[in-house]
Every structure is written in structure tokens, then in C-alpha cells.
Amino acid sequence: MQTVLSIGVDALAYGMALFVISIGLSVTMGLMRVVNLAHGAFAMIGGYFASYAVRDLGLGYAAGILVAVVGTVVIAIPIERLLYRRIYGAPQLTQVLMTIGITFCVIGITNFAFGPTLKTVPLPPLLQGSVDLGFRSIAAHRIFVIICGFTVAAGLWFLVERTNFGVKVRATVDNAAMTAALGVRTEVVYAVSFAVAIALAAFGGVIGAELLPLEPYYALRYMVTFLVVVSVGGAGSIPGALIACLLLGTIDTTGRYLAPEYGEFFFYLAVILIVTLFPRGLAGRMK
């Protein structure tokens, strides 16, 4: 029983960290139909901003997160206007080539400017150390990540399903030309959705930095995992991504606890099964 509980806690923590980082990608892929392979690069930029703000400028952790989110969005806006706007609606191969190109540029620039060594975001005393849950102890930071994950999920769901802006987003996704004809400025909708996705990437990059350490190759190293989450959950679906993260987190954690020598066998086996049974992901929308 203790083992089951213990695995459950780890799975939840790992799943939520994955969720916070991947959900932004789900937004760009599902709502904006852009295969954004530069998602990891934006998460990394966020992490570097926070690391610089907290470590070198001595700001607080919360301020660091704010700097990361705002800074990354400020960098992303001109990129959206100049580069991404050209590939909305373009064939997926074009999108893949351009965004992977951006990723390599970001890796190169980061390597040049900050060097290849690891960067960390120092935690505030409150999030340091571990919390005793009775049957085991868990890093305080993990609990913070779990809370952040649920908050992000709830906030996004509310934004897309319950607000006026959400209506416009959904309409733009379904039929951009028709929505524009009805007087919605779709380019603004796209720009704001993109900014939200980037902000989420940056946020995820910062709070996930304990699990996925920041270094220039971060941008590429974890991209497969993020893509898996989106394809299993169904692009653009918030509940889908949440379920996918929890499911994959559980499978991965259980496999690692009980049979680490199998490596990621169970993880990818589950992915193959799910994608075979649900080609559009667990909660993907039919076209």
C-alpha cells in the first residue's frame, strides 16, 4: 500500500511538471495549428531569464518568474510577427523546418552568450527542503509544481471555455475566414494565443528547472517528451493534456520503480497503444 501511495505521489508530481511545460505546445498545435518545435526553446529562454534575474540580479523567486514570462513574451512577439505569421496555415513540413531552425538558432545563441554549463534557478527557502507526508518525504518544490499545474489547467480551461476571448479562439480555430468575416480580428486572436502559449512555456521552463535542468540543449533534449504528451492528449485539449500527463507520469514512474532495467519501454508501449486506439489523442477533436 505504501509503495502504491509512494508511486502515486511521484507520478502526480512528474505528470504535473510535464503538464505545465507541455500545455503551451498543446495550445499552439491545437488552437493555432502550428507544429511549434521551438516550444522547448521558449521554455529554455524563460528558464535563463529567471536564472539571470534570481541568481545574478538577486530578485525573489516570484519576481524571477514574472521576469521570465514577460521577458520571453517580449522576445517572442517580434518572432511571431516576422516569422510565425508566415507559417500559419502552411504545410506542416514548412512549419517543422522553420521552427526547428529557430530552435537551433536559440541553442547557438544561448551557448555563445551564456556558455554550455548548467544554470539553476535558486529556490526561496519556503520551497527548499522536503515535506514529510507521513509515509515518505517529498520535495517541497514538487508540491508547488502540482499546485501550479492544477491552477494552470483550471485557468486555461476557464479562458477557453468560459470567456468571450475563448469563444473567438474556438471560432478562429474552426474557420478563420468565416470568423474574420464576422468582424473578429483573427490576427489579434492569434497573437494573443501565441503569447499565452509562450508565457506558459516560459513558466513551465522556470518551475520545471529542478527536474529538467537548464542548459543550451534543453531546447531539443526534451522536445520528444513534450510532443508525446500533446499527441497522446490530443492537440488543443486541456483536459486531454492533463489526463495524458497523469497517465504517462504514472506509467513512467511505475515502470521506473518496479523495472528500471526496461528503460522507457512501458512509456513508449503505452504511447503506441493510445495513439493506435485514439489517432487524434485521448481528447482530440474530430475534424
Binding site: 548548467l118 539553476t120 517529498i138 542548459e215 526534451y222 513512467d252 520503480y257 522507457e264
Partner: protein, 391 residues
């Protein structure tokens, strides 16, 4: 224009004939990509050597030719080694960060009449695969074996091993197990984790459940070590009194600023710490820091590259600049000198370096910088792994 070119070629040919030879050394390593830092350390070690000793041996001039293999890629390594030998006409091959890269290139040595000086790749079998290989780095067996003694002496009788599931990790597991059981301890469980593991919490829980008093681990240096050390602290293993033992790969100097507080007190064994206290090392570190640019990036491959250059220069001296691989290798068998890491020698039988292995503890100096503090020396350690190499 044509005339000018012809003149230039004639001049080049003349100067080649009139003056002493240029001896080319081909260095293969990861100079771009995720492991570029290690390649940079090769280069820093070589540059430090050239800065301190000049680029001349007798009247011959050494020229270094670099080739990049960003990740372990034996086919590419072999192709580049061939290119270096055939097109560049190198007399020596050196570098090699990854074992498969070194192994692939050893096949060329005999026919090309070129010795190889391995500056990192740490699997015992490399030196056995060709009589023209000399190694100035270490093997995983060599750096792992002493930590088993340390663990036993600190009262650990039941240990668990947790290693990355690939060649060097398995070497480390076998080395620790063999040495620890020889000391009379018991390894209760051996766990191999995939190289791509990011989340170590479930593994730490398993270590805790195993009832072991000590954890031995091997991970390649790089990003995952950070998450690993944090997981060790955060999951209550440190507080629970499970002792931590590893090799120096886990606490390489360039990762220490990031590991910071979490790594404090970790015990590792290794052949070199940048902080090693000797006049030779002070000179070396000063030159290497200048060569690498950012002192925080200096780490262990630099010293093996520095000593590799020493060995190559001795080879050039012995052969008078003529290409004779066998004579060159024979000349350095049994060679001993004082390296920045301490006294070392080339074992005449295995052509592998015999060196001191140090037990180190991560500590914080007066200026708040984290470093590997050497607390104990295991003198003149050979490579115990050679006995297990299949002939």
C-alpha cells in the same frame, strides 16, 4: 594571379624542404553539440601545453588538426581518422571522448603506422584492441574501485548500486560490486536506469526501500547529475543516513556551481580535481584557464589532454620526427613523470596510465566557490578492469 599562386606553392615546397618537418597531430573529440564543453577542455589542455612548452620538439614543429564528432558516432570517428591519416598526413591520433569512437579508429592504426593517445574514453578494453594505443586518462574501473574501500571503512556493509544503463555505467557497477564484495560487504541490489532518465524520485524511493546503508552511483557528467543529486537530498535519503558514494563524473568542476549546496559533502573518487594542490597543477590551471576563457568551464578532460601532449612530445623526441608508430609507443612504455594530477606512469604492459586516485569531498572555499577537496590519496592505482577484458 597564376604566377603568384605558383610562386606561393614553390615557396611552400621549398620551405618544407629547407626547414625541419611539421608534425601533425590529429585530435578527434566533441567540439560542437551537447558535449562541446568536454571538447573545449581537450583544446584547453592542448593549448595549455603548447603555451607552456612551445610548439617545437627539437627542430620539429607540432601542428594540431582538430576534427569534430559531436556525439558517440563510431562510423564518423573512423572516417575522420582515416581522412586525418590519408589527407592531412597526421603522424599521431589523439583525443577521443567516447569509447566507441576510439574503438572504431583503433582498426586503422597498424596499417597507417600511427599511434593513438586516448585522452578520455574510459573503457578498459580500448588499450587491448591495438598495441599502438596509449591512454592518459583513466578507466571507470580505476576510479570506482577505491570508493568501495571507503564505503566499507565508513561502516557500510550493505550497499546498493544505481548506475546509468550503458557501457561505463555497467563497468562502474561491476567494479564496485567486485571491490565491495572483496572487502566483505554485500551489494543488496543493482539497479540500472535509462540514460534519458529525468525524474529520479521513484528510484530514490527504491533505494530507500532496499534497506541499504550506502548508495553507489555512476552517471555521466552533464544535466541529469543535477536532478539526481537534488532527488537524493529531497527524498530524504541524506536525512535518512544513506551514505552517498560516486565517481568524480558526478561532481565535475563545471557542474559544481549549479549543484551548489545540494552537493556539499558528497564523496567521490577520481583521478583529478582542478583544486589539486601542487606547483605543477597551479602552473597548469593558470595556463588552461587562460586557454579556455571562462575558468568555471575547466574540468577533468583538460588534464588528460595536457598529459597526452607530454606523451606525444616524448614519442616525437624518441623517433626524431620520423613516422614509426611501434618505436614511438615503445619509447613511452614505463615512462613516468609528474603530471598536474600527481605522479603518473605509463604501465609497460597495458600502455594505460598508472595514477593516484583521490577521495574528494565537495566543499566550499572562503570565497563561496564549491570545489572538490581531496581528503585521501590511493597511490599508484592501475586498471583493475583489464583482468576482465575478453582476450
Amino acid at each position: 594571379m597564376k604566377k603568384l599562386l605558383a610562386a606561393a606553392i614553390a615557396f611552400a615546397a621549398l620551405s618544407g624542404a629547407a626547414y625541419a618537418d611539421t608534425i601533425k597531430v590529429g585530435v578527434i573529440g566533441p567540439f560542437s553539440g551537447p558535449f562541446a564543453l568536454q571538447g573545449k577542455n581537450f583544446k584547453a589542455g592542448i593549448d595549455a601545453w603548447l603555451a607552456l612548452n612551445g610548439n617545437k620538439v627539437g627542430s620539429d614543429e607540432i601542428q594540431i588538426v582538430y576534427r569534430d564528432v559531436p556525439q558517440a558516432d563510431p562510423a564518423r570517428s573512423k572516417a575522420l581518422a582515416q581522412e586525418l591519416v590519408v589527407r592531412e598526413g597526421v603522424q599521431y591520433l589523439a583525443g577521443f571522448y567516447f569509447t566507441p569512437d576510439a574503438m572504431a579508429a583503433t582498426a586503422l592504426l597498424q596499417q597507417a603506422n600511427v599511434p593513438m593517445v586516448v585522452m578520455n574514453a574510459a573503457t578498459s578494453a580500448i588499450v587491448a584492441s591495438s598495441p599502438l594505443v596509449v591512454r592518459t586518462s583513466f578507466t571507470t574501473w580505476q576510479t570506482t574501485t577505491p570508493i568501495a574501500t571507503v564505503a566499507k571503512e565508513q561502516g557500510v556493509t550493505k550497499a546498493i548500486t544505481l548506475v546509468s544503463d550503458y557501457g561505463p555505467g555497467i563497468d562502474a557497477e561491476n567494479a564496485f560490486k567486485t571491490a565491495f564484495e572483496k572487502e566483505g560487504g554485500k551489494v543488496v541490489e543493482t539497479i540500472r536506469m535509462p540514460l534519458s532518465t529525468n525524474d529520479f524520485a521513484p528510484l530514490m524511493q527504491r533505494v530507500k526501500d532496499s534497506g541499504a546503508q550506502g548508495l553507489f552511483t555512476f552517471l555521466p557528467s552533464g544535466p541529469p547529475t543535477l536532478a539526481f543529486v537534488k532527488a537524493y537530498n529531497d527524498n530524504g535519503l541524506k536525512a535518512g543516513g544513506i551514505k552517498f558514494y560516486g565517481t568524480g563524473d558526478l561532481t565535475q568542476e563545471s557542474d559544481l556551481p549549479a549543484l551548489g549546496e545540494a552537493a556539499l559533502g558528497l564523496q567521490t573518487t577520481y583521478h583529478y580535481a582542478v583544486s589539486h594542490d601542487s606547483p605543477e597543477n597551479k602552473t597548469f590551471v593558470a595556463a588552461a584557464e587562460k586557454a579556455i576563457g571562462n575558468p568555471a568551464e575547466l574540468s577533468f578532460p583538460s588534464v588528460s589532454a595536457f598529459d597526452g601532449m607530454y606523451v606525444i612530445c616524448k614519442m616525437i623526441e624518441a623517433t626524431g620526427g620520423k613516422q614509426d608508430a611501434k618505436k614511438a609507443v615503445d619509447a613511452v612504455k614505463g615512462l613516468s613523470w609528474t603530471s598536474p594530477r600527481g605522479p603518473v606512469s605509463i604501465d609497460p604492459d597495458s600502455r594505460h596510465i598508472t595514477e593516484n586516485i583521490y577521495l574528494r569531498e565537495v566543499a566550499k572555499d572562503a570565497s563561496g566557490k564549491y570545489y572538490n577537496k581531496e581528503v585521501r590519496t590511493f597511490e599508484k592505482q592501475g586498471d583493475p578492469g583489464l583482468a576482465f577484458v575478453k582476450k
